[in-house]
């Protein structure tokens, strides 16, 4: 029963390790670059301003949701209810649009805040695991939205409100601008504030964070509330772009898109780390993948399989080594 282990030669290991480490941190940027290059070469009319605007506009709501999702994932949680919250926000808009767009938007955001805070309460105070706690709202939330809207899609005509979806500031679409600003705010929040650092500490080791006297419950409720508000913002923007309140389909499967983007962007699902820029690029990557598949007119079957492969490849590169 004698075993002898001979170690591999050292130098090869060292440089390879450095390379994988670099890829791990920057994989998502590389992937976006590669995809851009591919499209520039093989996709007709790709390099136009209009096209880039389209991609950004489509990505904006996903990004806004993904930013919140990144925070939740940073606390070692997950929020499955974001799509339902978008639907709730969409259902609220027509109810209050009569009183002016500002009122309608405020009400939608308040509902998002309440929904998020409710999730946070379940997770932090009642101690229910995030997936299940938010699953309840995923199941019930959309139903509630449909009840509020009486199951109907409502065409919207308020010009000011619709401008959110179609207007631009200095050539930049309003929704893209908002998404960009929110990305900056969330980046600042995670990296520069007590709240942000406490958030990752809680995700890293909740018991230790509690014993260190951190306001664990407050932070958790705060994080879910922020996520709820962000989802509501995304719901408002998507609604205005659609020019209709459509609670049946608004944000359907958004939770999975957002989680995918966050994870592809290098934020581990195990918590304790939030990568905001990575999330932004994760969203862009998934958007480009979808665009590429549509533009090359691939059938749905192949498109789904290619998406699966790309998700695996991106996460494989960015995974944490043991």
């Amino acid at each position: 029963m004698t075993q002898t282990t001979q170690a591999p030669t050292k130098t090869a290991v060292g440089s390879a390790a450095a390379r994988t480490r670099w890829l791990q941190d920057n994989g998502v940027y590389v992937a976006v670059g590669v995809l851009l290059l591919f499209n520039a070469l093989f996709t007709a009319n790709f390099l136009t301003l209009g096209n880039f605007t389209t991609q950004l506009v489509q990505a904006a709501p996903v990004l806004i949701v993904a930013l919140g999702m990144a925070l939740v994932i940073g606390t070692e949680g997950v929020d499955l209810s974001v799509g339902a919250v978008m639907a709730l926000a969409a259902a609220i808009i027509p109810l209050y649009l009569g009183a002016g767009p500002l009122v309608a938007i405020t009400m939608a955001l308040v509902v998002g805040l309440l929904a998020g805070a409710f999730n946070g309460f379940l997770v932090a105070r009642v101690g229910i695991q995030p997936i299940v706690a938010t699953l309840a709202l995923l199941v019930g939330g959309r139903g509630l939205a449909l009840v509020i809207a009486d199951g109907q899609l409502v065409q919207l005509h308020d010009e000011t409100f619709l401008a959110l979806g179609t207007g631009d500031v200095a050539g930049i679409p309003v929704s893209v601008l908002i998404a960009g600003l929110l990305a900056l705010v969330i980046a600042g929040l995670t990296n520069r504030t007590t709240f942000g650092r406490q958030l990752v500490a809680i995700g890293g080791n909740r018991k230790a964070a509690t014993l260190a006297g951190l306001p664990v419950n407050r932070v958790l409720i705060g994080v879910y509330a922020i996520t709820g508000v962000l989802a509501a913002i995304a719901g408002v923007l998507a609604t205005s772009r659609l020019a209709a309140s459509d609670p049946a389909d608004m944000g359907l499967l958004m939770e999975l898109s957002a989680i995918t983007a966050v994870v592809v962007g290098g934020t581990p699902l195990t918590g304790g780390k939030v990568r905001v820029l990575g999330t932004v690029f994760g969203v862009i990557l998934m958007q480009l993948v979808r665009a590429t598949l549509i533009k090359h007119n691939l059938p749905d079957s192949i498109a789904q399989m290619i998406q699966a492969a790309i998700i695996i490849a991106a996460v494989y590169v960015a995974r944490e080594r043991r």
């Binding site: 199951g151 665009a291 007119n297």
Partner: protein, 326 residues
Amino acid sequence: ETPTTATSEGPAASAAQNQSAGPGCARSKTGYPQIDLKGAVVGFSQSEKEANPFRTAETQSIRDEAAKRGAELLYTNAQSDLNKQISDIKSLIDRGAKLLIVAPLNSDGLQPAFDAAKAKQVPVVTIDRKVSSQPCTDYLTFIGSDFVEQGKRAAQQMIKATGGTGKIAILLGASGNNVTVDRTKGFKDGIAGTPGLTVVAEQTGEFDRSKGQAVMEQLIQSNPDITAVYAENDEMGVGAVTALKAAGKQPGKDVKIVSVDGTRNAVQLLVDGSYTGVVESNPRFGPLAFDTLEKFGKGDEIPNTIVISDDEYDSTNAAQKLANAY
């Protein structure tokens, strides 16, 4: 054969015609008991949430007609879950339904439910979607549109509107859905004889407005020369209008849009001039379904397939028929 007049929804276009050439189905053949509609318990199994105009109108039509004829209506909704629809139907029978109207979620897979109905001698009328089981034995008859025909009519509208030349993008319905398959087939067959029309892209918009819009936005960027869009339901068509406008196109003029359904939103766009044509998919099954059950009860022969007549909207008639849209 019998054109029914006025449903609660206004002037109905729900004339029916017997399309089956073979022998019909009579009660004597099945040995089912006679049931008087008045006071009878009728079960209705809806397939998905009433979250789109078609389903809303469909359910409402059945409810109204049941009330009108003094039948007691039991209602279930399968929430897009096939297994749930099977238990729904079983539970309707269990709760005492003597007659059944089923809007199948899918063409296949309802056999266990039909078997249960057969065992209890409950006649089943399926509406809006034809199932692959045996008429007269597994179920009584099917009342609904011919989806392939709808596709063909959309193709004809398209040919007329484009003058027979153009590049078409198709916004497909949800993958794996028979409606998608049939409407695609009908449309492609319909344009087959017109070499000037080519399909440059076909992508799924999952019957959803925002997905339709998103896909259209992508397609119009990569294929700016698209001159026509065939959307397999109105919602995607309306989404496409929004996308085209945002891309600086004039839908209805630069880009012709034809879709299937007949919802108020689409017909309104047609009135406004940003749409080209709509082929109706008539959801008002109530009168026909109850007529059929009544006739069956009386002992008349029922055809295997009853096609509900679908209207058509184009720029010439949209304004006057707007009230008909649902």
